[in-house]
Structure formats: C-alpha cells, structure tokens
C-alpha cells in the first residue's frame, strides 16, 4: 500500500466520504438503532423460539438438529444486533446546492449522488415501529430504478422539511429524463 503516502492534501482519504470541507453530513437519529433492533427481534424471535420448542419436545436425533439451527439463528441475530449501531451511525445525508448525497453501509459502503433535477417523486413513509419512535423515512425516486436515495430515521419535522426542500428544488427543473 505505497499509495497511502502519495495522497495529496485536497484529496480526501476515502472515496465514500467525499468533499468533507464543503459538505456537512447530517446523521440520522440514534433512535433508529432501536427501530432496527426491534425489527430484528421481530424477525429472529419466532425462528429461535420455534427451534427452542423443537429442541425441548422432539426426540433426540431431531432435537439436536433443531437445536443447532436455533443456536445458529440466535448467534447470527446477536452478531447483527451488535452490528446495528454501527450501521445506523454510517447513514448520512447531505444537501448540496444541486444534489443530494446519501451514504450508508459499514461492510459494503455506498454513496449515492442524486441531482434534484432528476427527481420524479418523493416518498415519506413511517411504519408502526418507526412511528412509535417518532421517525420517518424519506425516499427520493428517479427514473432509474437503481439510484437508491433512501434516508431512514428522520424526525418528522426534519422529514417534512427535507421532503419540501426536495420537491421545491425539483419543481423548477425539466421533466427529469
């Protein structure tokens, strides 16, 4: 890794956190951690519980198999649960003059740059768990299915501010194709 020494001053160290001087990254609410944890619990608990029941009430050859499956599910859920805070902290968004930047992901890092002019519509969604924690998700849709500008874990006020800003900026532009 000899390249590390050649990095010049204006070039940021990582491709996925660009323009650090000119961009102020907003973080998403830490309450999103709880939403994610609860959603993980809701999806993992039935599997683990079912396996536990099978482990207790089935005959020996099957109880071991079911028990191992349950243990594996519980272990992977635990690893994921420990990982969630880092994932949530990795979410960030920044509004530049002409485009929205969204970055997320720990293991696989992603950065999306979506110009406001390309916006087709904006979604604001809030599931039951998200609502309980007073959070909402804003998603910017373009004509390309691949561009994923999703910002979860926003306070309702911030979500509607972002939505209004996005629609206002998108309005005076062309048709977006």
């Amino acid at each position: 890794m000899t390249n590390l020494e050649i990095v010049n001053a204006p070039v940021p160290p990582s491709a996925l956190s660009p323009w650090p001087q000119t961009v102020d990254w907003h973080r998403v609410s830490p309450r999103l951690i709880w939403v994610e944890e609860l959603q993980l619990l809701a999806s993992a608990a039935p599997v683990v519980l079912g396996c536990l029941l099978g482990f207790l009430f089935l005959d020996p050859p099957w109880s071991t198999v079911v028990g191992m499956v349950g243990a594996f599910a519980a272990a992977s859920a635990a690893v994921r649960a420990l990982w969630i805070p880092r994932i949530v902290h990795s979410w960030g968004y920044a509004e530049r003059e002409r485009d929205l930047l969204v970055r997320h992901g720990r293991l696989i890092r992603r950065l999306s740059i979506v110009p406001y002019a390309r916006m087709q519509f904006v979604d604001v969604t809030a599931g039951p768990v998200e609502r309980a924690f007073r959070l909402a998700t804003v998603q910017l849709h373009t004509a390309a299915a691949a561009s994923d500008a999703v910002v979860p874990g926003l306070a309702p006020a911030e979500a509607s501010r972002l939505r209004d800003r996005l629609t206002a900026l998108g309005e005076d532009r062309a048709e977006g194709l």
Partner: protein, 438 residues
C-alpha cells in the same frame, strides 16, 4: 393551458372494425380446441357445431361491444384512449412524455393490412395503450402526428401546424443482409451446443442402447428450448434497416411480426456495443439502444425492442452510433483499465475492465467472453453511485455506477479510490453541465 380549452375537440375515433376479431383470434382458437378435445365424441356433430357456434357468437358479441367502447382522440397535446366495457378506463398520455413509437404488424394483422401502434412511455411496465388495430395508413399518419406533436411540445419545429406534417421520406442509413443475421445466429453457443448434445446421445447409445429413447427425446426437448433464442433472433432481425427521419431513428425489422420503431435520438438513454466470443473471428459486433419506455417485460414478448444493429462490422457500428449521437466516434472512445491489483477481486476480467470520460459520454467496458462497451451520455445520467465492499476497501478500490433510466448502466468497476472519487465528482459535474445545456 388556455390554448388547450379553445382548441376544437376532435371527434373520438374507433379502431378498425376487424380488430376485435384479430384480438380474440387466439381466444377463439383456444375455445374451439377446448371444446373439440372432449366434446366432439360426446356431443355428436350437430350438437358440437351448435356449441362452437354459440361460443363464437358470444366471443364476437363481446368483442364487438368492447370495440364499440374503445376509441382514441388527440386533445391538445394529449392522446386519450378510451376502453373497457364494464370498467371504463380513459388513459391520457401527455405527448411530450412520449419516448418512442412502435408500429407493429403481427402475422395475422399483416394478412388483412392492419397494424398496431404502441406508445412507449416511462412508468408502465409494458408498452402503454397499444392501439390495436388500425389500417397501416392510418397508423403511420397517427404516428407521424403524435411524434410531431411530441417534438413540438419539447422544442418548436417549423412546418408543423397541428395537421399532418409533410415529412420528407426516410433516408436509409444502414441495412443488414439476412445472410449476416443467420450466420451471426449460427455462431452462438446455443447452436454449437446441438452437435455436442448429438455426440453425447451417440456416446450413450454406444454404451447402453436401451437408454436411447429417453436420450433422444430429452435431446429434442433441450434442442428446441436452446434453439428458441437464436431462431427468435433471426425472425426478429430479419430484413433489418436503419433509417433517419425528422422524427428520429427509424428501425425496421422482423420476418413474421414486422416492427417499425421510431426513436427520437434524445430519448436514447444508453448504447451498448457487444462483442460475443464466437463473433470475434469475423470482427462482428452488436449494438443495442436503451429507451426508458422499454420495460423488462418487453423482452419476454415475441418481439424484442432496443436493437440498433443486430450484427455488423465496426464500420457499420460507427455509422449507426453516429446517427444517435453525431459527436460520438466509436473508435475514438478510449478507456483506461482498472489498476492491476483489481485482479484480486476480478481475477479473469481485470484486464478487460475499463472506463473513460469523453466530452459528452461516459464509457465503460466489461466482460471477458462477451465483451461489452456501454456508452452513456452525461445528459442522460440519473444518479451516480460509489460502492465499496470490504475487500475492495483493503485494496483501496471502489466501483462507480452511472445510473440511467433504462436497463443499461455504465459501471466503472474497481477503480483506485482517489480516481473513483474524482470520477464521481466529474460525472456529477458534467451531468449537471449537460443538463443545463440541453
């Protein structure tokens, strides 16, 4: 908007009277087969004919009724299509959003001189509002009128005043000989698989003769399945001609189902140039265009949309691509390869991966066996993404995606991190400049 209300509303027009029959031809055929399967023996000839007649009558009455309620007319800059017998539906298509217009003539419709007009718009998962069927003259006139209105909506063009424009005749740019189309499809892995399969069956026959029936039967089934694609390609690419017209590119192709596509050049989202492995000795390549309206379901239909050049040499490809974007010279598109350490992540295709920026387009190259060059103009970039996996982070590599509104995306795989950042910044900036210019 005020001019719209003052314009006289033209009367609603119906489709051709034969269209309900054509549309339900398959249904009628199926119904007759379904009845004949068991019915003929049980009912006797007289009763059987009665039932067939009754079913036919029912279908015909229903389709005539639906024909009666189906209509279209142009209101201002909108095409309105009315349809539905019980559930009425009026679909309004703003013509400035028209991506492409395809005139399709399926076999049956050709026999009676009719055509179907398909309007490609973004958002629908299939071609929206196919007007089936119109007479060929009427379809051509309507197509020209819709396209004129469409381009009038986006940019003013002289000589078009609502009525039928006096369009100069199309100018032929390139034609592909049918021999080339057939040769090209013979040089596909699918076709080459067939002798291998025959050899396999023969070998099996040598060892255990009693298995051959199963072997032959499965070979035939497999061959039919495998050969379906090349055969369909030949049928689709037959008699391929590319012409230019004031409305845009005119692509004409098809043997059984004749298709005539009109694509305004500014609606082309990306061009893909492919060099299949088996075509390399002949130095042949294939070009396709991506238009936002061409949904994924279009590929499953019998006619595939989006070909620009089914088979041809580099010279033909250069000529054809220049019709789409005059400033793009295919041979001059240079790509810089990914760094050699990308070999750790893409051991076989590291030396193929490449990306390059020119004045107006972003180019990416990928594919070891089937090499593909994707050309995306800056003006058509929807969003830019940078993705970095854990191993790529260790190697200081990142991948840059330039997303378009179609299915073809230019992807610069595994660039150096600093370069990827620079690339993303450049793409964003150039896309913005191209947007504000055009």
């Amino acid at each position: 908007m005020s001019s719209l209300s003052q314009a006289p509303v033209e009367p609603r027009r119906r489709l051709h009277p034969l269209s309900p029959l054509l549309r339900s031809a398959r249904l009628i055929g199926l119904a007759i087969v379904a009845i004949s399967w068991r019915g003929y023996a049980q009912l006797g000839t007289a009763r059987f004919l009665e039932v067939v007649l009754l079913v036919l009558l029912g279908i015909i009455v229903l389709s005539i009724a639906s024909w009666w309620f189906t209509g279209y007319h142009v209101v201002g800059r909108e095409l309105r299509v009315y349809e539905g017998l019980l559930r009425r539906r009026v679909r309004a298509i703003p013509l400035e959003r028209l991506q492409a217009v395809n005139l399709v003539r399926p076999v049956l419709a050709q026999a009676v001189g009719l055509a179907e007009l398909r309007l490609e718009v973004v958002g629908g998962d299939k071609a929206e509002a196919p007007l089936a069927y119109l007479t060929v003259d009427e379809a051509v006139r309507l197509r020209d009128r819709l396209l004129a209105l469409s381009s009038q909506a986006t940019a003013t063009r002289p000589g078009v005043a609502g009525g039928v424009p006096q369009a100069p005749p199309d100018q032929l740019v390139h034609a592909v000989t049918n021999a080339d189309v057939v040769t090209g499809q013979l040089l596909t892995p699918q076709v080459w698989f067939v002798p291998v399969g025959v050899l396999a069956v023969l070998a099996q026959f040598a060892y255990s003769p009693e298995w051959t029936f199963v072997g032959v039967a499965s070979l035939i089934t497999a061959a039919v399945g495998v050969l379906q694609q090349p055969v369909r390609r030949v049928l689709d690419d037959w008699d391929f001609r590319l012409a230019t017209s004031p409305d845009g590119l005119r692509l004409h192709h098809g043997l059984l189902d004749k298709r005539n596509e009109t694509v305004p050049p500014h609606r082309v989202q990306a061009v893909g140039v492919t060099w299949p492995l088996l075509w390399r000795p002949k130095a042949w390549l294939r070009c396709r265009i991506d238009v936002a309206g061409y949904g994924p379901t279009e590929g499953r239909r019998q006619i595939q949309a989006g070909r620009l050049l089914p088979v041809g040499t580099m010279d033909a490809a250069r000529l054809v691509v220049r019709q789409v974007w005059p400033e793009v010279e295919l041979t001059a598109l240079a790509v810089t390869p990914s760094p050699t350490r990308a070999r750790w992540l893409a051991p076989l295709r590291q030396f193929v991966l490449g990306a390059g920026l020119t004045d107006t387009v972003f180019v990416s190259r990928d594919g070891l066996l089937t090499r593909e060059l994707v050309v995306v103009p800056y003006a058509r970039i929807q969003s830019v993404r940078v993705v970095q996996g854990p191993l790529a982070r260790l190697l200081r590599l990142a991948t840059v995606h330039a997303d378009t509104a179609g299915r073809l995306h230019a992807i610069a795989h595994l660039r150096d991190v600093d370069e990827a950042w620079e690339l993303a910044a450049q793409l964003t900036e150039r896309a913005r400049a191209a947007r504000s210019a055009g």
